[in-house]
Each structure stands twice: as structure tokens, then as C-alpha cells.
Symmetry: C2
Subunit: 711 residues, 2 copies
Amino acid sequence: MVSNKSLAALFEPGSVAVIGASATPGKIGNIIVSNLLDAGYTGKIYPVNPDPGEILGLPVTQDVADLPEGLDLAVIAIPPAAVVEVMKDLAARKVKAVAIITAGFREVGREGYYLEEEIAKIARDNDIALLGPNCLGLIATDSDLNASFATGYPESGHIAFFSQSGALCVSILDWALGNNIGFSKFISLGNKAVLDESHMLDYLAEDGQTNVILGYIEGVSDGKRFMESASAMTMKKPVVMIKSGTTASGAKAASSHTGAIAGSDQAYDAAFRQTGVIRVHDVASLFNLATCFSTQPLPKGPNLAIITNSGGPGILAADATEKSGLNLSSLTARTSKALREFLPAYASLYNPIDIIGDASAERYARTLEVVAKDELVHAILVLLSPTASAQIKETAQAVIEIAEKLDKPVFACFMGDKVVGPGKRMLQDASIPVYSFPEPAIAGIEAMYEYHERRNRPAPAELCIRRDIEAARTVIADARERNALEIVEFQAQGLLNSYGLPVPKTELARTSQQAVEAAERIGYPVVLKIASPQISHKSDVGGVRVNLQDSSEVVAAFMDITSRAQRLRKDAFISGCLVQSMAASGSREVIVGFKRDDQFGPLIIFGLGGVYVEVLKDISARLAPLTLDDAKQMIREIKSFPVLRGVRGEQPVNFAALEEIILIMAQLALDFPEIDEAEFNPVLVNPDGAVVADVRVILAPQEKAAENGDA
Amino acid sequence: MVSNKSLAALFEPGSVAVIGASATPGKIGNIIVSNLLDAGYTGKIYPVNPDPGEILGLPVTQDVADLPEGLDLAVIAIPPAAVVEVMKDLAARKVKAVAIITAGFREVGREGYYLEEEIAKIARDNDIALLGPNCLGLIATDSDLNASFATGYPESGHIAFFSQSGALCVSILDWALGNNIGFSKFISLGNKAVLDESHMLDYLAEDGQTNVILGYIEGVSDGKRFMESASAMTMKKPVVMIKSGTTASGAKAASSHTGAIAGSDQAYDAAFRQTGVIRVHDVASLFNLATCFSTQPLPKGPNLAIITNSGGPGILAADATEKSGLNLSSLTARTSKALREFLPAYASLYNPIDIIGDASAERYARTLEVVAKDELVHAILVLLSPTASAQIKETAQAVIEIAEKLDKPVFACFMGDKVVGPGKRMLQDASIPVYSFPEPAIAGIEAMYEYHERRNRPAPAELCIRRDIEAARTVIADARERNALEIVEFQAQGLLNSYGLPVPKTELARTSQQAVEAAERIGYPVVLKIASPQISHKSDVGGVRVNLQDSSEVVAAFMDITSRAQRLRKDAFISGCLVQSMAASGSREVIVGFKRDDQFGPLIIFGLGGVYVEVLKDISARLAPLTLDDAKQMIREIKSFPVLRGVRGEQPVNFAALEEIILIMAQLALDFPEIDEAEFNPVLVNPDGAVVADVRVILAPQEKAAENGDA
């Protein structure tokens, strides 16, 4: 654990030592001292170097042991082999935080890995907030702290940024310098030996200077902690992140459909969505959203009004709006009436509100004032094309003055660059996001609206799934005893029953005579399925026969199924056949499954059965535990949802029954870490209810089951 | 028709008259003259105004009649009511081209519409190339011509731009001025009374100064001409266009599935795709592609090599590549060997090739030289993060020197802005597209690769569809005689037969006895379908019964179907039932249909039947006439294609049979303009072949049928 006190020492140190400080310009140990001085750091700086003298005017401390006890921050830039000893010395001096710039650890192989583990242990044992190793350092503008070897120091601002890639830190810092983007904190995480993205989220949630957080990660260090930190964080401040390496995933061999479909990138998608982290896929979007969130109030609904002095650009903005999750707002009759009073006859009073090419700043101002009062409108985009009569600076000034009195977000798109430039700079300086073309403005407003929606969702109700865990445990223990890694349908009935899952009437028949008796108890028509612990892909051996109408058909099917299975699978012990009631006609097939993600635990998936899942990959996914809302969304967000809602006058299926099954699947996954994958496939659902018509459960090997339990 | 001579006069005029020239600064008639002078136009300029004297130092011509005969270009900026008379006078003086800046025509209502029609007629009758009205004018940098009232004059360049929106012209010009984008021609089309996008494409195809064409349109004036002009154009030069108003379409009521699904935006998509026009959806993409196409050679394949000095940015670029239609290129053993000789041990020799943070310009140069020689590599992206040791300008210089000797495209991404700025400017000046972040670079290379692929596709073979048009015409004439606007299945058999379409064995039975006889000829099992000219949605009245096994089932079904239809549809005349052979089990249902688009003619669609089309809107579309390639692509580009290719070891369906049916549908649409919509639904296809199992044909009302014929 890293205490808050240590983290505070990292970001707001009263004094900083630079281990490996150098008098030679260009050396990293020199750049760091010089960066500290240039940023105007007012705390005490201790350059540490075995050679006596001065470095950049500061007296050198020759030994770590000579540093004052309880020093806040030490920055280390010495060869990797020497770092362990220095860490021990720093711990002895009760240093609170350390940033290790030095590379040559985990990233270079086995030896480096062990070095890093040793360093991390020293840090953890002594409550040292350890940043890195193999990082650029950190910048905290409100402490005037540049404890990095980066070139350039950003303006102060309200955006915090952390990155797992040092190169991306350098690039983004350089880009920000050219684009006047300010930062509160700028952090290079490096190898994340101790401090990782979760610590940053925890700390920045409480940081008064930060109001939006950006992150670049290639993976999280600890899925569960990330979920907790991110969930807490996003209720306070928006978090926007890039997770790279999206495409090289999910290629692992898997034994269920769920396993084949649900990749690690889907787990990240689910983790971000469930915690409210906004995921973007490129750096431009990252900073677009940062600007939007850090400057404008959140829209309280999806309705956007567009005010424009030209048709074509208005259409472009309307197109982008229609493609987004926003609506082109309607206007109240009162608004239309008020606009009609002063707008010219050719103006369009519908949204986009076209106030025509000769619109003066005053016409923009009056229109904006009227539209902003409309309670149907949640956000406003002011579009200006540099027509001959456009009053660019005056319009910018009018927008600024009106917007600052509003609690609705106002965005501007001044189409162009050179002539509109002065107006754009005025808007930018006044914290109104301004664009050359409309599309990124719409993307920004959409993200802000979604964030607002999520933050205002009522807290989910506590769910209680009734189940008989002991009975379920027996089923799994039986499989373990047989050394089986798979529990097939006829063995899984006990598991399904112990979770109260709806199943078709089912009996195991060991002879054709038993099958007929069972069919008579169940009622015709029935289904027969091969029952063998070794046969999980039943249709591959012709092991399923449906719609059997009478005893003669049942007898024939029993003989056929069992003899064929014996012939095709000489390895298999045939227990007989399962006799099952037929699903009501008109039922839809869906799949409910889960796969245990290495990082985030059980990833629950839902989709329509058959080719929808296999060919179209039309599935939804969430990480357990699930809320009822999660289950509802999972059903509704698949593309083929209309099939469940009913097309051409069909009745909708029983959604509540499906939601229940999804929630039970999540509970099962949480209850039994020793299950690696499970799948109800198909679940048959119709307007009356749903039944789990087949099931497969894949157990983890013994040694992995223990790990799953820890995760 | 507009002759080439007149078009040439518009773009390269030897002399220009400005009708409505004014001495008052700020007036449009003054700005135009001033713009002509400022751009350094060397031809003669005639300001025309009733008041004598000078305008900006040029002697005023008081009457159009006093202009020299055969003048090249007149720019008109006088009130709309006066334009018709001036046009007549200009025609009398044999003026070759006219740009009407004046607004107040078609866009303001009926009166303006008639004025515009009159002006257009004068232009057409006298071979005057008429631009506008209601436009900004035009710029042709190689003629030093600024015949517009735009603010600012762009640099000379190789990009031509035309736009239907004047405001977008102004905005883009302003943006280009701020971003050093040069233009060959810059054209505001306005109301397109005579000259439209097709004329521009025709002219610019031959324009020596232009090597890439950009356009913004809200619609085309003439679909057929556009298809011809664009097809010819894109074989010579790349065309990139925005068509706006994408979302407000296709809402028309329609009587077939095809009609309900195929909107006008899909017709535009098809038109662009079939002609090779690259469609983008925002202005940023428009200019990104313009820069790529106008500076670098086309990649001859999809394989991209990425050279980077940092991991994180390399992953971002690899992610973007994997999501695109490009591949991360493999490298030959020779390349790997050559790289290993000089790259440091930690360098990654796999793509992205990571030459590590301390890479010098020389290391970049050697790597680029080796990789460029690899025959597996078709395009190269050089990524640079501004690490402490990055040699930014030197690396830019090295890339420039190597790239100019290559016939492979080289793109650069210098991550950042301030420090990397000088390097970026060097690359930009040397015509190497350079970016702050990798994603738009990948998008540019992808578009260039696709363009290369398309242009090098072999010319399609001529198709000949055998058919008996006279027999088909009889079927339609019969319907016309009955005043019917729909031809239902049992009446359409003659139509299907005359096109040689494969159909199930089908007979019309008027009595149950005839039905049994027919079933016996056809062979059991059979399908019975209600036959009534008034009933097109047969299932709605329970009018279809499948899998009838014997005569008693046929008799019962016949009685049931016909009596139910009589009861439910008292208006319907019941002809009896169709008796049809059953499709082989395991057949897939697909839909082939067409809908006549107002602008582009028959839009052919293809999709899997049932919910695939209705719910998932998973269809492909092309405009007739189709090539065999078009038909092949239509089948293969739907998302559910794997269902047809076969999943889990199934045989693929008979694609050739499907292609044939699609091509016949296109031919039918071309042969009979009086058909508005038609649909084969379902077509049943299996590995052996395909049959058209149901059909519906919607006729155009008589008056519209004539129009369709002209289109």
C-alpha cells in the first residue's frame, strides 16, 4: 500500500534530491536539475553526486546518507545496477517518494525483472511512493515542479495526464506546447513497479487543480483495483483514456463460443463502460474531450441547437448530429415567435437556425439569447462562415458575453482559419471550445452528454440471487473427482437446479424403455440428446433429435443416437439419453455465457444464438458483478435486439426472464472461481418465459483455479 | 450542351467584363474588380456601369452593347430582375462564359425559379458556359484569375475544389490560407442553372494543372451524366467528395422491403463506389486525402511498414493499421538480416520496426533505405517521437532525400508540435505528408491503396443476358389493362420465364382436384400459395402452406387457404392456389430487389432474407447496369456473407447462380422503365443452385413510367 502522505510528497514535495545529478550539460542528471530550476521550484533542491562542488549553482551532497531525514522526493538517474543500494539508503533516510528515471529493468528481460521486484519491495515495505522505473518523471505545475527530463514545461491548467509510454509523454508535451494546452499534472508511469493508473486516479480525484483526467495505458496493473478507483473517480471528474493494443487480442484457443468471441479488448471496453471512463482511440479525440470537459458545463440532455449564417455548413453539422447520440432540438413556439420578430424573412426558424449570410454580430447575439432560454435546448453550437458581412470579432465577443452567463454549454465553429483566426483566439481564451469544422464539436458535446447521463443514473439496487451453493459445489467436486475439466449437460442439471434456473423438463434414460416412460411423464413431443461425459459437441455425432411425437419415434431415436455415438466416439462412455420437453414453437435462441478475463475476472456475454453470434459477432459484454441495469442494457444493445422485441407485430420476448438468467450467470461466475468458462446455449425465450436448453461448464485446471480465486 | 471552348473561356479567359462594377469600396461590384487586379490578371478587364468614368483606374464601359464581340468571360453582379436583359445582350455580343454572382433566383421561390430557367435557356441556346447564379465566382490560379468576391487568394497548387455551398467555399478558402494549401481551380457552383459537378469533372480531367479533385455537393443535377463523367474522371485522377444531407433521406413510404430499405443516400454511396469517387464525410478528411494524393506515389499493395523510435506511438499506429484495409507488412529474411547488422540489440526487427529512443538521423536513414528495398513493403510510415536524442531536422532531411528517389509512398508522423515543428515544415515543403499523430496518415495511405486497386482492375467483360422481352412486355401490358400497379406471384410466372430465371415447378390450380393433379405431376412434398391479384402479402391471410406430403393434405390445405382468404379479404378475387415444389432442405433465403432512384435510376439490392434485411439492414447495393464484378461484390460485402459461404463445415451456396439472378434483376430494371420496384423474395439458394421462390413487381403510374424511360 502507498499512503496518501507519500503520494502527496510526490506531487507537492517540500524538497527534492536528484540522485545522479551532473554538472555536464546534456546529461540526464543535469537536465533534471536544470528543469527543476527553470520551472521556478521554490523548495530545496539537493543534487547528489560522489564528486564535491556545485551543480548549476547548487551545493552537491556527496552521499545519500547525508540527505536530511524525511525528505519528500528523490529523483534517481543512475545506472540500474546501483539503484537497489540507493533505494535502501533512501529508505533509511525515510524518503517519502521516489521517481526512478533509469531504464534497464523489467523491459530488458529476466535480470531486470528481478532488480525491479527488489526495488518495488523496498518501496512497499517503507511506504515510498515509487514512480517508474524507466520513466520520464513528473510535472506538477501548481507546485512549480518539473521533476522530469522532458524538453519544455507546459502552461498551468486543469487537465491531468498520465501515460504508460514515455515517448507519448514527450510527444504530447511537445504538441501541447504548440497548442497552448495547460496541465495540472503530467505523469510518466514507466514500468509501474509500484504506482500505477489506479493510484493516479485515486490521487487526482481529490486534486483541487485537476478537473479532467487523461490517460494512455497499454494495460492495467490490477483489474479489480482499477474498477474501484475508476468508478469512484468518474463520479467526481471525467476520465478519458486510450487503451492501445486493441487488435492483437482474443486469439487464444477457447472451448466455448463465449471463449472464442470474448477477447481482452472487450473486457477493457466493458471495464471502461461500467466505470464510466470514456474510451477514445486517438490522441486528437483525447484532447478534444479534455478541452470540452475543462471549459464548459455539462449538457443536461441530448438536444442541440445549431445557429448558423450559412446553409452548407449547417447541413454538415446537422448530418454529424444525426449520426451521433444527440438530437437536433425542437424549438418551443415561444422561441419561434421571438425569433420571427427580428430575423429576416428568409431565415430558417427550424434547427439548424439559419440567420443568413449577412448576419451581424447583433443578430447572432439576439438569436443566441432567445435560443438559450428555450427549455427544450440543452446545448448550443454557433456556426460562422466568414461571409463578406460576417463580423468575426464582434460575434466572438457577443458569444463570449452571453455564454458566460449560461449554465448550458456553448460551442463555436468558426469555419476557416486566417480571417476567422482572431475570433477563434478570443473564444479559446474565453474557454469556449472553437473548431474549424463542425464534426469534432458534435463529438465533444455527445461525450459530455453521455457523461452527464451516466453520473446522474440512480444507484443500482442491491441484487440478491437465491441459490444453494453447497449443492452446486457437489456437482463441481464430482467433476474434479473424475479429473474432468468439463461438465456437460446431463451432469450439469444439479448445478442449474441449485441456481433456480428454468430448465425444460429433463430426465436421464439409460434404456429406450426408460426413455419412453420419461417421454410419457414429460409429455410429447420430446427431444432426445446423447448423454456422455466425453461428448460435449452433441450435434457433431448426430446426438440430438427433436420433435419426437410418440413412443415408436422415441425408441427409434434412442437406438439411433446411442449406436451412432458408440460408433463415432469409441472413447466415450455412453450413459444413455436425456429426454427433454420441446420448447414452445416461436421461441428465440439466445446465448448467455462468461469467460474469466485474466485481468478483470468474469466477462459476461449475451447474444442471439446461431449465426448472429458466430458470424456477425453481435454480442454485448459486461464484467461481473452486474447490476440489473447492466443486464437490461446487455439485452438491448445488441444489433439484433429488434428480433427479441418482435418484428411484424410479434410479441416481445420475456425480457425479465432473460435478465434473471444473465444475472444468475454472473453470480455463478463470482461464486465459483474454479469455473473458467460457462455457457447457456441455447437459452430459449418466448413471450411467456425462458429456459436454459443446454449448458456447458469448463473448469480451470486445479492450479489456475486457485489464482482465479485471488483475482 | 456546353462546348469545351466555352468552358475554356471560363477558366482561361483572355478578357473579363464585370457587369455591375462599382467605384464604391466594399460593394460586391468593386470587390470583384479589385480581386481581378490584385491576383495579377494580365488579360483586359472591362468594368461595366451606366455611369461613366473610371473604376480602380480602369475606364468604364457604359453599356454591354459596347463590349467587344466574342468576349471570353462576363461576371454579373446586378439585381436579379435585370439579369435576363443583360444575358440577352451578352448573347448578342457572343460572350462565351458568364458567372452570375447575383442571388435571388431558384433559392427564393417560384418567381426566382422562372427567372433562372429563362437565363439558363439563353445560356444553352447560345453555348454560354454559365456558372451560378447565386455563387461566389471562380478562381483559376494558373490564369492569375480571381473572378470572385472572396476574401483572400490562395496559393497556386494542384488541387481543384468545387462546392455547391458558397459559404463552404469561403470557409475552406480561409482555412487553406491559414494552412498553406494551394489550389489550381476554386469554383463556387451556386444554383447550378447550367454548369454542374459533371461539367467540372469533365473539364478538370483534362486540366494540366490539376492532379486531384475535391468536391462538396448536396445532390447531383443529373445522375446519369454524373456517373459517366465521374467514371471517366477517376481513371485519370482521384476525386474526393462530400455529399451532405446523408441522414434526411429514404423516408418515403414504399411497398416492398427493397423500397423500405434502399434510401437515396445508398444510391449516392453506390454511385460513388461504382465510379471510383472517394466519399468522405468531413472537411478534414477531404484535405487530408488531397494532400496525400497530390504529393506521393500510389502504394501498389496493402502492406505498410512502420519505422518508429518509440513503443507506445508504434502501437497506436499498428492499432490504426489493423483496423484499416491495410496490413502490417511482413519483412523478407534479407531485410531482417540487413537490419540486424546495424540496429542495436534491443531494436525490434518486426513491424512496427522499433529503432529505439536514441535513434539518430543516420539510423533512421539506414533503416528506411533497407526497408524501402523490401519487395513485400508497399508503403512506409516514419514515426518520430521527440526523445532527448532525436535529431529532428536531420531525420527530416534524411527522409526527404531517400523518399524522393523512391516510387513507394513515404509518410511521416513527427509526434508533437513545438520541438518537432521545424522538421515537420521541412517535410511538408518537400511534399511528404506529415502528421502530429498516426491515425490520419493511415487513413490517407488506405485511400490511396484502394484507389490504386480500383484503377488497375481489369475492364469488366460485356455481359449478355438472354431474354424474351416481348413475352415479358405482354405480362406488363396485361397488368396495365387491368389498371393494376402490382404484379403478384401467380401472374409473374411469365415474366420470370421470359428472363430464364430458375423457378420452382409451379402450376396454378383453380380447384382442389387440380391442385392434387398438379402436386402429383410436380412430386411431393409441395407448397400451396393463395393466388389472387389483390393479395400480395400472402402470409397475412394465412395464404401459404408448406411441406404438404400427400393428396389429402393438399386438398385440406387448398380448402383452408381459399376459404380463409375469402373470409378475410372480401374484396379479393380468388383465382385458386399455386402449387409449387418444395425447396431442398438446408437452402438459405436471400433477397434480390431493385428500386428506381429518382436521380440514378435502378438501385439493385442484395441481402440475406428475414431479419437480416429487416432488422440488421445488412444489404449491399449497386446501380444498374451491373458488371459481373459488381454482382460478385454485392454477395460478398454483406456482413452475413459467412452464412452463404458456410459455417461449421457447411458447403458454400452456389454463388454463380446468385450472381446470375442479380444480373438478371438489373437487366429487368433497365429493360422496363415502367417497373418502379421489383423483388425476388425469397430466392432459395443451396450448394446446387438457386430458385426464385416468390416475386413482386410494382409498376409506376403511367405518367411516371414515361419519366423513368427518359432517366
